[in-house]
């Protein structure tokens, strides 16, 4: 994936005795779209602010392009930030907002003019130079905030929940737009969000965080299909997480029924957590299923039906395009490669992490 551009080494940070980040290590590759994903209070925004220079870590180092920038002021860093609520300068018009960073750097007027034009075109807001920020919609203000950041040609663009205040439709449009911008600019994006769909749609690399720890990092597919622990499985998409027993390699006992799986190396007769995505469960006639149950709930979701199935003393969440009415007796079948086996949390730390789910 290219070389490391930013490396966080053993970063710790606490506020008033409350630990926000604990010995965080993270490498960010050049030209990647990296998303820090997690619930509020997980430390993702603090991580971003430490990279941006708005917070100093209590311990640890921030390495940027091979240099230690831990103590460098934000105005000296080769990166720019798009803030959560846009943070436009309300006393300046759009052109002045975009020009701010360039004027500070004493760029010639003609250069600034060209840059403003280019940036406004890039965010599809040509001709907005003389407007004031207050007269723009939330989505437009967000684009201006992006334009204001990118004219400075940063190596990295930091985005702190930039779509949080927008409505759903606009948010989806902006996701594609951000992805396009990233391709066009060819720079690194570090994106912070609590929205798993946003993360899956846009990222090359997702870092799932909770309570100041990195839970898992990897490509969107890997995070979704092979969650490493119950927190990740639960946070990313819907899932059925069931405490089970690994009988031996490639065989797991879930709620008393034995399912074939593809995982190995968990030992024999060991407790494990099993993750099964609701769309991976196939409802079949009772005699054909591995586990027998009854449909107890039904919701039409547009693309699919969402069904609750009571089987083996557990309420399974099932997504299917085929309808099974409430009260129908059904069999549950899962393909071996759709069963994801995870270690049961061992240490107290890990326990604490999954308890908050």
């Amino acid at each position: 994936m290219g070389k490391d551009l930013i490396t966080l080494e053993h970063i710790s940070k606490s506020y008033d005795g409350h630990v926000v980040l604990d010995d965080l290590n993270l490498s960010i590759y050049e030209n990647s779209f990296v998303t820090l994903l997690g619930p509020s209070g997980c430390g993702k925004t603090t991580t971003l602010r430490i990279i941006g220079g708005f917070e100093k870590p209590d311990q640890g180092k921030v390495i940027f392009d091979g240099k230690d920038i831990t103590d460098m002021a934000p105005n000296k860093r080769q990166l720019n930030t798009v803030f959560q609520k846009y943070a436009l300068f309300t006393h300046m018009n759009i052109a002045e907002n975009i020009a701010f960073g360039l004027k500070i750097k004493n760029k010639p007027d003609s250069y600034i003019k060209d840059k403003i034009k280019y940036a406004l075109k890039l965010v599809n807001l040509d001709g907005y130079e003389k407007r004031m920020p207050d007269s723009l919609s939330g989505g437009q203000q967000q684009r201006i905030a992006i334009a204001r950041a990118i004219v400075n040609e940063p190596k990295v663009l930091l985005l702190d929940e930039p779509l949080g205040a927008l409505d759903l439709k606009l948010r989806q449009d902006m996701q594609y737009e951000l992805k396009r911008l990233k391709e066009e600019l060819g720079i690194t994006f570090i994106y912070v969000t609590h929205d798993q769909e946003e993360a899956l749609t846009m990222s090359d690399h997702i870092v799932v965080m909770n309570q100041g720890y990195i839970q898992q990092e990897g490509s969107p597919e890997k995070i979704y299909n092979e969650p490493e622990n119950a927190f990740v499985a639960d946070f990313i998409g819907d899932s059925n997480i069931i405490r089970s027993t690994m009988i031996r390699d490639e065989l797991v006992e879930i709620l008393g029924a034995r399912f074939a799986c593809v995982d190995k190396g968990f030992g024999e007769n060991k407790p494990v957590d099993v993750v099964i995505r609701p769309e991976d469960i196939v409802l079949v006639p009772p005699e054909e299923g591995t586990l027998e149950g009854v449909v107890t709930g039904l919701t039409f979701k547009g693309v699919h039906y969402e069904m609750d199935v009571e089987a083996g003393g557990f309420e399974w969440l099932v997504h299917s395009t085929r309808l099974s009415e409430v009260g129908t007796r059904v069999g549950i079948k899962v393909d071996p490669f759709d069963i994801q086996i995870m270690n049961v949390p061992l240490s107290e730390d890990e326990e604490a992490i999954s308890e908050t789910v």
Binding site: N80, A87, F89, H91, N152
Partner: protein, 276 residues
Amino acid sequence: MKLFKNNKTAPLLASPYIAWALIFILVPLAMVIYYGVTNASGSFTFDNIAMITEPGYLKALGRSVLLAFISTLVCFILAYPLGMILSSMKLARNTYLVTLFILPMWMNFLLRTLTWMTLLEGKGVINTVLEFMHLPPIHIINTSGAIVLGMVYNFLPFMILPIYNSLSRIDDNIINAARDLGADSLQTFLRITLPLSVPGIISGITMVFIPALTTFAISTMLGGSKILLIGNIIEQQFTQVYDWHLGSGLSIVLMIFILINMIIERLADTEGGVLG
């Protein structure tokens, strides 16, 4: 707010205020204007207003403007850094401090000014202490300096509060954004913080300059009877000379003066907003 947008109930709800404004603002104002443009026999004249050109009155007006200007400036210089310190503090602690600044306002204004009189007097508290320490006494009572001191002391909270308000309303991320875009602390202050706090500065200036310009209590107590401000002269017309016509005429001049000042400030506000 929805409730008050209802067109039918709005006039009804506003009626107490309208009545209040009518009785306590418009009627007295109309009376001042009536007295100002008439003479003792009741006929129309501009003489009362023209009296401001009398050297004695003109000098008092000039002195009032100068002392009000100095007081406002001193208040601003003291209040802005204080406002910045307050707005940068955590909420729990700054509420406590803001209360400390407002606390003197709970005491009567005349009483507080009177206290300064006993402090500054020739044989007052300060000089007694100085004498005890074998230091030369200071002669500040009955000077313009004492008046400025009294004005600054009394009106400082009116400058701090609006400035503090406008500063604390600036989102931290706006400051962070300026820093992020390459501005150092000074550039951030000059280009972002200062222009965004202009509305607070303007209302602070208005709230200090106007009472400072019109005061007569402070100058009476701390300036003795030697230093007359325009406020003292107007007061004398009403309470000693009983020439209501002249008093009102001079009041009109003062009002026009304040009006011009407010227009200039308003213009500065909108320009400051655009130019940044």
